[in-house]
Every structure is written in C-alpha cells, then in structure tokens.
C-alpha cells in the first residue's frame, strides 16, 4: 500500500476561491483565495486567532463555509467520503473520546487511513516516548501533540494537515518531528500543510509560505523567493543610507555610527555595489522577514522609516 505512486499531476490539491467564514458578526476568514499545490510542504503561518485552524477546518470539511468555493482534489470536501479519505487533520485542539488511551487511537487509525504504516507508527511511539496505556486526558501537552504528530505522519494521507504540531514538544521532539517528516516525505511524497508559529524552525522544510492575518491572506509565495526577497545591509550609517536610498526599506536598526537596514530585492549588481562600498550583506531569516512584512508597524512607521521606492 505504501508503495502506491504519489500523485504527480500539477493540478492543485486544494483550490479555494472567495472563501468567507463568519461566526455571528465575527469574520474569521475574509474572502480568501488560495491554491495548495500537490506534493509540496506548505507553511500556513500567522498569529494566534489569525484564522489558520478555521481555514484548515473548512478545507477538511469539518466546518461549513459562509461563502465561496473549496475544491479538494477537484471536488467539494464537505460530506464527500471519496475526497475526505485522502485527508488527515488532527487539530491541535482535537477532542478525543473521554475513555481513550493512545493505544485506542493507534488501533483505530488504520481503519480510516489506507496508507497507514503500523511499523512506522510503532517506531514513532518509541521515539516520542508516548505512553500507550495512559488516558489521553492525563497526557502532558507534549505527549498529546505527539499523538497528533504520529497519526499525521503514519497515516501518510495524500493531504496531511499539521495544526501547531509542536505545542508542548521539547526541542529534541520537535527536531525529531522535522527529521521524520522530511525523511518520510522524501520516500512518500504528499501534500503537507504545516501551521505554526515557530517559523525559523520549520523554514528549511517549507517550499511554500502562506501567511494569514485577521482572516486574510497576506503573503503566498515560494519560500526560496521569499528568502532572497530581502537582505540586511550593515555598515557605517552614511554608506548604508546612501546605498538604501530609493529602495524599499523593511526595517531599520542603528547603534552608534553603525546602521543595519533591511531592504527588499537586492540583485547581483546591487551586491557588487554594496561590496564596493564596504557594506556587509546578511540574509534575513524567514521569521524576521514575515514579521517585517506583516508586523504591526503602523504606530512607529515614521520611527522605523518606512519608505516605498515605487
């Protein structure tokens, strides 16, 4: 079963168009359009309450849209068994039956996920040191997260969602999750959506980055494009100011006579120019970039010197 060929089509796994979800007067998802490509690892990033979980609930048919269209593998997901059997989505806030122990989860999961790999699941249980015979209610936050991570990985569903999978996991367990995800993804390519806060930790995993805030998509770009889309220029204040004049400045820091400015879009010619001016160029981490591009900058916009070049 696990040898089944992965979908190789370039068709999107998920296509969302004009999606809106309201809870009473609160708009959780606001006219969102989005494509999730097959066979890639996507990061769904955003602050608490940005709408990440709601968006995933809508895509997986756990919730109903107020407006708009969702296609998963070309079909509507809600109440569609043919589509849903390809999806695994164990929420961070997943409710488990009162009397369940992890062993009940692992015993029942293979009935629902046809690609389930029991050996892999057993290996993960050992690696995450998950107690199988303890009531789920009594598990620590990290152990609870491990249950979701194990189901998400071992189910090998063609479309897998991880909702804040690392909550309460220690650094070792998080690294373990990233390693196992990458290894298994290489052997069994599938579409993965990872919602998280720890952007830098996962930035090497991500091929596509979607940033959501207050129910709207702020950014939807290839991770590589994003990583090279900004550079920090460090050097003597005067030289840095001369260099960044006319460019889009994302962030400005200064200490004494030194200045550190993050600017967008630096090409090879610019690099040469910077080198000639004796300036240092440093890459910007994905997390910093996202914070810079989406962060709350209105109140101190003048202070940090937001300039738009074009």
């Amino acid at each position: 079963m696990s040898a089944a060929p992965a979908p190789t089509s370039i068709a999107p796994a998920v296509q969302v168009t004009g999606l809106t979800k309201r809870f009473g007067s609160f708009t959780a998802i606001d006219d969102v359009s989005l494509r999730i490509e097959s066979g890639r690892i996507h990061g769904l990033l955003g602050r608490n309450g940005a709408g990440k979980t709601t968006l995933m609930q809508l895509i997986t048919g756990q919730d109903f849209a107020t407006q708009g269209d969702i296609r998963v593998f070309g079909e509507k997901p809600t109440e569609n068994a043919r589509v849903l059997q390809n999806i695994c989505f164990i929420k961070e806030s997943q409710r488990y039956p009162e009397d369940f122990q992890p062993k009940h989860v692992l015993r029942s999961a293979p009935w629902f996920f046809e690609n389930w790999d029991a050996d892999f699941a057993a290996q993960l249980v050992e690696e995450f040191r998950l107690p199988l015979n303890r009531r789920i209610k009594k598990l620590s936050r990290g152990q609870l997260s491990a249950v979701g991570v194990i189901v998400g990985l071992a189910s090998r569903a063609p479309l897998t969602f991880f909702d804040e999978p690392y909550l309460g996991l220690d650094a070792v367990a998080r690294q373990l999750f990233y390693d196992r995800l990458l290894e298994d993804f290489a052997e069994h390519p599938r579409t993965v959506v990872l919602s998280t806060h720890l952007i830098d930790e996962v930035s090497n995993l991500l091929e596509r980055v979607v940033v959501i805030d207050q129910g709207r998509i702020l950014m939807d770009e290839d991770a590589d494009t994003l990583r090279t889309s900004a550079t920090t220029v460090v050097g003597p204040r005067g030289a840095v100011e001369a260099f960044v004049r006319g460019r889009e400045v994302l962030h400005r820091d200064g200490l004494g006579g030194l200045s550190s400015v993050t600017v967008a879009g630096i090409g090879p010619a610019d690099r040469a120019e910077a080198a000639a001016s004796g300036l240092e160029l440093a890459p910007v981490s994905l997390q910093q970039l996202i914070v810079r591009k989406t962060g709350v900058r209105e109140p101190d916009a003048t202070e940090t010197g937001i300039e738009q070049s074009a």
Partner: protein, 261 residues
C-alpha cells in the same frame, strides 16, 4: 484566481473509495474500540449491584421467620436496580456524539457515515444487552431468584412476559435511551448550550401542555387505563415512536454540526 472552472484540473485521488458498508462498519468499530467502556465496566457495575442486592436479600432472608420469607422476598419484584444500565447507555450515547464525533471528523469521516455507523452501533449494543438481560432473567427464574427468591431481572414489569417479549422490551428501552442521549448531544454539537436550553424549554412546555390537556379533559383515568390495557409490551412499543423521532431528528441535526475548535 480563475478557479471558476474546477473541472480543468482533474487531480488524482489517492486510492479507490471505501465501500459504503465498510465506511459504516469502521465507525461501529471506532465507537466500541474501548471495550471497557461499552461492555466490561457496565457488566462489572451490574455484577456489583447484583452482589449488593443479593447480600441484602440474605439479610432479609436470615432476619425473617421461615414462614414470612417468601412474602418478604416478594417485595423485591419492585426492584429498579437494573435500571441503571439504561441510564449508563444514555451517557454512552452522549459521549459518542460529543467526543467520538469530533474525533471521527479528525479521521475524515463524513457526518452522514458517523451518524449511520453510530445508529448501527446502538442497534448492536441494544441487541447484545437485550440478550444478556433476558438470559439473566431466565437464570434468575431457574435458580429461584438466585437461591433466595429475589428479583433483579424479573421485576414486576417483566416477569410475566415471554422470552421474546423480554428481548423486545430491553431492546426497545435501550434504543430509546440511546436515541435520546444521541439527540441531546447532537443538539449541543450543533447549537451548543442554546440548543439544549431551547430543546429543554420546548420539551417542558410540551409536557405541561399535555398535563393541562389531560387534566382539563379529565382524562387521567383514561390514561391510567391505557397503560393497563397496553401492558408493558404495548407501552414499550409506543416508546419506539419517540425513539424513531429522536433518531431521525438527531441525524438531521448532526448533519450540519461542527466540532469546537
């Protein structure tokens, strides 16, 4: 985004769809994956209640004069000790809908499959408990009330019925409690506390209205007569009506229910 033409991208699906029967059966298995909850714990409680009852009978037996013994034990036919099992099943149904349902959605089960699969679960559990209950009632008669003339499974409502009648009564009563529990939990899943409060209020008004109607038309004797004429089997048969109503309504309500996030 030009997603107005979804047909352009026929994306591949991973594997063939599971057969409808298999999809329902795995919900049944999920509902009873922990056998302790649905079988062993209620059986153990039943055993314990039986034991305590038997010890009490023993006290009565020893304390009564030999001539009064049969008379004293006759009182145990009004026992409601076995009733707890029905309430227990009400709670099982509530838990299945309030906790297993959100969990099953995480396993990407459709609401329809979950509701139908849970319906089958309830039918099977009710049938199983009906057989067990009836078998115990037969043993009770065969051992002359567990050796002391006591009544636990052959209470007064039950004692005169045939084996078939007993099976029917336990089966129907248990289904009633499953359906009511599942319906109430479905209301909660769909509308949270408001749903429960509204349904509770509606039910209270309906009840008061019915009482008023019976009282004003001076029909209480007729009501009492109806119970006597219908007999335990007839009354139980009528219980199927609210059971079916609750089941159908529960199915409809759960069809648009969403788990808390």
């Amino acid at each position: 985004m030009t997603a107005a033409h979804p047909g352009i991208h026929p994306a591949p699906l991973g594997g063939r769809p599971a057969a409808p029967g298999a999809r329902l059966w795995r919900v049944v298995r999920l509902n009873v994956v922990n056998k302790w909850t649905v079988i062993w714990i209620p059986a153990m409680i039943m055993f314990f209640i039986g034991l305590v009852n038997w010890l009490i009978w023993l006290i009565i037996w020893t304390a009564s004069a030999p001539a009064d013994r049969a008379d004293a034990m006759e009182g145990t036919q009004w026992s409601g000790a076995a009733f707890y099992i029905f309430v227990y099943m009400l709670v099982v149904a509530i838990q299945i809908v309030s906790a297993t349902f959100p969990f099953a959605l995480g396993y990407s089960v459709t609401r329809r499959d979950f509701a139908l699969g849970s319906g089958i679960t309830f039918l099977l559990l009710a049938a199983g408990y009906a057989v067990g209950f009836t078998a115990l009632s037969a043993i009770e008669e065969w051992t002359n009330g567990w050796g002391l003339g006591g009544h636990l499974f052959t209470s007064v409502y039950f004692a005169d019925e045939s084996i078939g009648g007993r099976l029917f009564m336990v089966f129907s009563a248990m289904l009633f409690f499953f359906a009511v529990g599942a319906f109430a939990a479905a209301l909660f899943m769909r509308w949270r506390m408001n749903g429960i409060l509204a349904a509770g209020a509606a039910f209270a008004l309906l009840l008061v209205g019915t009482i008023a109607l019976i009282t004003f038309t001076q029909s209480w004797p007729a009501v009492g007569e109806w119970f006597v004429v219908s007999g335990p089997i007839g009354v139980t048969a009528w219980l199927l009506l609210p059971t079916v109503l609750a089941a159908v309504a529960g199915y409809a309500v759960l069809g648009r229910a969403t788990p808390r996030s």
